[in-house]
């Protein structure tokens, strides 16, 4: 526990000075994906549920935030076909960034409630398939809805002013805003893991029938963990939209669901800091290997193979195991 706090302090200090040495926009991207991976780890690493549809929460809220911050609520919607009677017409001013983030997160949580509510009835591969199927439906919606811009993506999202005071178009202001969001998200996850609630999750992961026999309503715990994970993934997606000022189909594509699994596994699932390391590896490779041209996929693949062979428990998991000896 004490060691965790120490690492956190060092990490925070490093992140505060990092933008002086590393390109800040890249760091912001890293933080968004690190939060996404941490949120995912809450589910995979601590509850033992492998969701293959987290891109839906990440990308879905990215679109919601992007649209609300750019255009406000301007829903002018009539359902197609026989659902014609469903129609809605609202128009408000564009939202401020903090409200946009909250709205994105709330939508992700609601979506998580729906998806989770259906998916947790099954376990293992069936759970993964249900989440994947439902996430593909979200992808389909993102492709079809006019406001998402389809293939072109939702472009030109303004960063705006935080609380009407801080000008987020300034790179450093934006960086510290993202850092603050990351810290809040990370703290929520850390507290959740180390609370009695987290203990129950771990019990479910280790032996579900035993947790049931002890009198825990396992489904409820799973659902809460799922919703929490979805909401924080959504927060990460919304923040990413503000950083890059765009949301695109990449964010909701199943590749993204795969990428977050990869980040968590590479870093070490079920470790507190693993997903951060994993996100750093994956995002760093995407960014810095990009200059290598057509070799990028080969090199990335080779590094993944090496990681899997050398670090069975993930990078952080392996380091943690060293200390335990």
């Amino acid at each position: 526990m004490k060691r965790d706090y120490l690492i956190m302090l060092v990490l925070l200090a490093a992140l505060i000075v990092a933008p002086m040495f590393i390109y800040p926009v890249f760091l912001m991207k890293l933080l968004c994906f690190a939060l996404f991976a941490c949120a995912f780890n809450l589910l995979l690493g601590y509850t033992g549920l492998l969701s293959f549809g987290h891109a839906a929460f990440f990308g879905g809220s990215a679109y919601i935030t992007g649209h609300l911050v750019r255009n406000g609520f301007d829903i002018n919607f009539t359902a197609p076909g026989f659902l014609k009677f469903i129609s809605l017409s609202v128009d408000t001013a564009p939202l401020t960034p903090e409200l946009g983030l909250l709205a994105g997160t709330a939508v992700a949580a609601a979506l998580g409630f729906l998806v989770g509510g259906l998916a947790i009835r099954r376990a293992g591969i069936y759970f993964a398939m249900i989440t994947l199927a439902l996430a593909q439906m979200v992808y389909f919606l993102a492709l079809q809805f006019p406001f998402t811009g389809g293939e072109d993506g939702l472009q030109g999202v303004p960063r705006g002013r935080l609380f009407g005071i801080f000008d987020l178009t300034q790179t450093y202001t934006m960086y510290f805003f993202v850092l603050a969001i990351f810290c809040i998200g990370f703290w929520i996850i850390y507290r959740a893991i180390h609370s009695p609630f987290g203990q129950v999750l771990k019990a479910i992961r280790e032996n579900e029938p035993r947790a049931i026999s002890l009198g825990y309503d396992v489904d409820k715990y799973k659902l809460v963990a799922f919703v929490l994970s979805a909401a924080l993934s959504g927060l990460a997606g919304s923040t990413k939209t503000l950083v890059f000022q765009l949301a695109s189909l990449t964010d909701v594509h199943w590749h993204m669901s795969g990428e977050v699994v990869l980040m968590t596994l590479l870093g070490g699932m079920g470790t507190v800091f693993g997903p951060i390391a994993g996100a750093a590896i994956v995002v760093g490779l995407q960014n810095y290997a990009a200059g290598l041209g057509e070799w990028v996929t080969v090199i990335t693949g080779a590094i993944f193979v090496m990681c899997v062979l050398a670090f069975r428990r993930g990078v952080v998991g392996e380091i943690g195991a060293l200390f335990k000896k």
Binding site: G150, E151, F244, L249, T250, A289, A290, G291
Partner: protein, 442 residues
């Protein structure tokens, strides 16, 4: 040298160590503050603040920022579009720079960096920002796929830098999303749909049936072409929408076959197009009914082979075997790349060349001045004989309706097209009067 992101990481580390070791030494400080301005082994850019040596002499110059013009090629090097753009586009850029240096003898240095955007908008936007902020890149080019092009255009507008789009297709680039720092060079969906639609009807293909990818891009391609076909006296018998991305097109193709239309318009792109062409050949649809590709490149024809694609109509902005100029340039390209250039790659060369000429003519790489010169100067090279850049950023030039040759008509490798018709620029592209670009004064 395109390795400098990696070198940069090393450089940052080295600079950091240096700065820590020699805290008192003031001359180390700028290195940490601006690590990428002296990139890796190329190191031709003087550090900011140092007097620029290269841009000193002649013609009122000395206005080249950082002493060099730096071109960033941001493209798909590893994915779906790497054949039609990719390393060929990087090569085309290099060729343009070399040729320009030989012929125009500029008094400024020219550098190039390239990177893979992996068709992801966020990676593209991140890279573009980084290039503009820390590596003094003046112009970003190529940008295949619309989502990356739009993302980079926004960043460039914000930083007041230029983008030259060659590979992306959407008309949104010069309509709703247009910026005054962008030129859309090679083609767009309107010109392809319009060119193919109009010309095919005139060639006698007056009944159409559409096979449409069921998303915004496919639908707009279908709508654009339908309008053109109808305006020219053709009839649209119907259309069928297939899911995107699709793999099995059999039921859709059979509907198209049953419609009895002379022409089947393929309002889709990429692997959807190639798969539907292959399957159309397997069902025996193709010799009897003609396919019209609304977004096809010579690289697709090369991949599919003439047997599957023969007789197909498509519109292209460039074909290597058109005249002596195109043959000469394409041969140079082929010698290095071992593939004939696609229109995107040829357009990339043309765009970079026009940009460099504009910088030389304007005597500065200042964005507004270069954009003004680029728009004021007509384009006449192997790619475009009478091209001009419009105020919405559209480069208007002649397009060509081609028909894919039968296997026995093709005499050599890459001998694929009959040029059936030259479509003059003002007919090929969307008229300025219809543009939704706010920059266009009406």
């Amino acid at each position: 040298m395109k390795l400098n992101p990696n070198h940069r990481a090393v450089l940052i580390g080295a600079a950091l160590t240096l700065a820590l070791a020699a805290c008192g030494k003031k001359d180390e400080a700028p290195k940490t503050a601006e690590p990428a301005a002296t990139p890796s082994s190329t190191a031709t850019t003087p550090p900011p603040g140092a007097p620029s040596t290269a841009a000193a002499p002649s013609a009122g110059s000395g206005k080249i920022s950082d002493g060099a013009v730096k071109i960033g090629v941001l493209t798909d090097l590893s994915g779906l579009y790497s054949d039609l753009a990719g390393s060929g586009a990087v090569l085309a850029t290099q060729m343009a720079i070399e040729t320009f240096q030989e012929q125009a003898k500029p008094d400024f240095k020219i550098e190039m960096v390239s990177s893979d955007h992996q068709n992801k908008g966020d990676i593209a936007a991140n890279k573009a920002r980084q290039w503009f902020d820390t590596e003094a890149v003046d112009v970003i080019t190529e940008l295949v796929t619309t989502s990356t092009a739009l993302a980079v255009m926004k960043v460039a507008k914000e930083k007041n830098k230029i983008t030259l789009v060659s590979g992306a297709a959407s008309t949104a680039i010069t309509n709703e999303e247009c910026t005054d720092t962008n030129v859309h060079w090679t083609y767009d969906t309107y010109s392809l749909a319009n060119g193919t639609g109009k010309a095919v009807v005139k060639q006698g293909g007056d009944t159409w049936y559409f096979l449409t990818a069921d998303y915004k891009f496919g639908q707009s391609l279908e709508a654009d072409t339908t309008a053109v076909v109808k305006a020219n006296g053709g009839k649209v018998l119907g259309s069928v929408r297939h899911p995107f991305p699709g793999t099995d097109f059999s039921s859709f193709l059979l509907q198209a076959q049953a419609s009895g239309a002379k022409v089947i318009g393929l309002a889709n792109a990429g692997t959807d197009t190639t798969n539907s062409i292959k399957q159309a050949a397997e069902f025996g649809i193709t010799p009897k009914q003609t396919l019209a590709g609304l977004l096809m490149f010579i690289s697709d024809v090369h991949a599919l082979g003439l047997k599957a694609t023969q007789g197909m109509y498509l519109t292209t902005g460039y074909y290597w075997d058109r005249d002596d100029d195109t043959r000469a340039w394409s041969k140079r390209f082929f010698d290095k790349h071992k593939r004939m250039p696609t229109m995107v790659q040829a357009g990339q060369y043309s765009a970079v060349m026009h940009y460099l000429n504009a910088v030389k003519a304007a005597g500065t790489d200042d964005t507004a001045a270069v954009m003004k010169t680029m728009k004021a100067t007509p384009i006449s090279d192997f790619f475009a004989k009478n091209g001009k850049v419009r105020e919405d950023g559209r480069m208007v030039h002649d397009m060509y309706l081609v028909q894919v040759k039968k296997p026995d008509e093709s005499k050599a490798a890459w001998d694929y097209y009959h040029i059936r018709q030259t479509i003059p620029g003002e007919q090929a592209f969307q008229p300025l009067a219809q543009s939704k670009c706010p920059l266009v004064k009406k």
